[in-house]
């Protein structure tokens, strides 16, 4: 998602938690979460 850098996605975490994102933002945020999670799991040698 080129429209959201990591910094602005991080700032959205509160709004995400209370379902205060619109659909586009929510999708971008969840993709960002997936990306960071898969990064972590890759480190441990198991895909999510």
């Amino acid at each position: 998602m080129s429209t959201f850098d990591n910094e602005s996605l991080h700032a959205l975490s509160g709004a995400y938690a209370v379902d205060a994102l619109d659909d586009t933002e929510r999708a971008a945020f969840e993709q960002h979460l997936l990306d960071s999670l898969s990064g972590r799991f890759a480190d441990q040698g198991s895909a999510p």
Partner: protein
Amino acid sequence: MNQFSPGAPGSPTGEPGATAGSPADSPANSSGDLAALLKQSGLGDEAAFAQLYDATSARAYGLALRIVRDPSQAEEVAQEAFLEIWRTASRFDPARGSAVSWVLTLVHRKAVDRVRSAEASTRRDTAYHQDNRGVEHDTTAEAAHASIEARRVRQALASLTEPQRQALELAYFNGYTHTEVATMLDLPLGTAKTRIRDGLIRLRDTMGVGQ
């Protein structure tokens, strides 16, 4: 799913069969039970799902009502949410949060979706005044609020700064997006985001979650 229809608004406890005892009476040990019921539901166990429904439907309906402000719509939202819970229960991961949180998060998402589609054709300022009239006296919400957990949440909410509480309530209980919250409170978008986030962090700290 013969247990499926959500409790009528006049049935505050929402316990059609009530075979599972009264989980509301034992908040301390019910969370593990609910997680087990959710896990069993994920395996297709209808009886476990019925117990889960009995234990959580009143709170689910209360939360939905708080957001959609209409009893029959709240029932529909609760029903949609429980349908999704039944379908996706296997995705519940107890390591990431309690079963109740998982259920209520799903209900909240459904309720907010409902509010947004309903409001697509309604002027925001009208909606704002409607949403700020407050909920009418309701025994279901009252029962849900009577729990110790709810008291802790209310106390924690009182610890927020007024701007934080206002931003969080508009976002969580009224279902507005952070962009709408910024517009309604006449704030820069970044400030609205920060208030919501800081408010949540303060709630977490006040309630001692994740210690």
